[in-house]
Symmetry: C2
Subunit: 276 residues, 2 copies
Amino acid sequence: MILDGKKVRDEILAKIKAKIAKEKLDIKLAIILVGDDEASKIYIKNKEKYCDMVGIAVEKYKLSSETEEKEIINLIDKLNNDESVTGIILQSPVPEGIDFNKCSNLIKPEKDVDGFTKNNIYYLYLGKKTVLPCTVKGIIKLLEYYKIPISGANVVIVGRGNIVGHPLSLAFENMDATVTLAHSKTQNLAEITKNADILISATGVKHLITKDMVKYGSTVIDVGVTRVDGKIYGDVDFENIKDIARYITPNPGGVGPMTVAMIIDNLVEMEERKNG
Amino acid sequence: MILDGKKVRDEILAKIKAKIAKEKLDIKLAIILVGDDEASKIYIKNKEKYCDMVGIAVEKYKLSSETEEKEIINLIDKLNNDESVTGIILQSPVPEGIDFNKCSNLIKPEKDVDGFTKNNIYYLYLGKKTVLPCTVKGIIKLLEYYKIPISGANVVIVGRGNIVGHPLSLAFENMDATVTLAHSKTQNLAEITKNADILISATGVKHLITKDMVKYGSTVIDVGVTRVDGKIYGDVDFENIKDIARYITPNPGGVGPMTVAMIIDNLVEMEERKNG
């Protein structure tokens, strides 16, 4: 069965839109962009599109690439203290000479939409209620939508990056899964992945996951994206695995669409928490 | 083969003692004890004993159980700024009404001997150089002493507490092991532990690890301690496993002795980092 990220995204956004209208929620996202990174502009446009769609206001702060760190810090301080601002994103990357981690860690945990600041990672580590990073939350919501149990499942995550693998392993473990985090230094990877009830790959290596690595009847989630000769590939050899796995994400069309929707979902959650 | 924690501890401490004397290192540990917890007094006495043995000064701050949080915060602030202080321990538990995490998180990361403050956990998560929690470091040093490879090994940790299981999984993964974190909600635990090159149990459940759960030729590390009918037991059924495992810790006499030695080791490391 295909885990249809677009369908689930659209349902989630429709529900949120109705909720915002009904409860007259006044949600505002502040986005800080420093410099002229082209990819960043596309990402931001995408975030704006979805915010607009559901009725969330976006306030953009475009700063020149000559901006000093001090100015960014002051702006974050101002937005932290602005009651009308629900969430803050400092778009990565920032120009050289600016310490991204230092700046973004100043965002209040309760306004940290991306869930990557020190405080939220620490809460995740402690197993406390936290703002989940969007890809992590997107995967969890997708599994929950299709009623795939996480508690007690053997979950193998391939790839230990700080955007997906690392925080996902903490989040799944907090949900009582037994998590194995595999990576490029893992030996006999196939033996390990064959034990997975839920196999998640986030490496950016084209078709790393082949059919001999997948347990019959399991769930396979493809987070990887890589470009080879102008064509985009996922980590998972979808065509040869789709009849072995019980559930599988397409890629594109699986985790990707869920990720942006989770920015919206986080903002609503944060606004509700703010209002008690 | 027995992993002899006492022997390794003694060798490490002897080396440190010689180093401190030779390099005339001026190391001071500040310990804050709030209230009258009897177990804490024993722990502190033990730490003092080893500091004394190698030539590290200890400054104790005994505060009454009526002490206000503000006072503790001021003391930590003073010790943070005192150049003569190498490391600070706020002894847990603290009396009710005092927020242990809030107070201990104020200890500067470079003076955090226990390695449990927010900053050091965040660095551990990011894979940056950090002060390792003592039990974690003790296990790593014990494995290194006996030349048991960690990189590329399949490591299964049973128990996901914040003192051992959780930080150990991050540290091992940073060292390129493939880590599975199992716990009370794990299903078919034996199947999982049988894949382990290195199996570490830290649950406090008497003889949870039986011989059918251990791979022939593997390494078994017992961190658990529990008391049943006045007798102390580890997590590992040592007698029945010692001929299956290639390396195994006794318990007591394995990880325990290493842990206290690592407070000393951390202090020396911190003093050296301070001096550039």
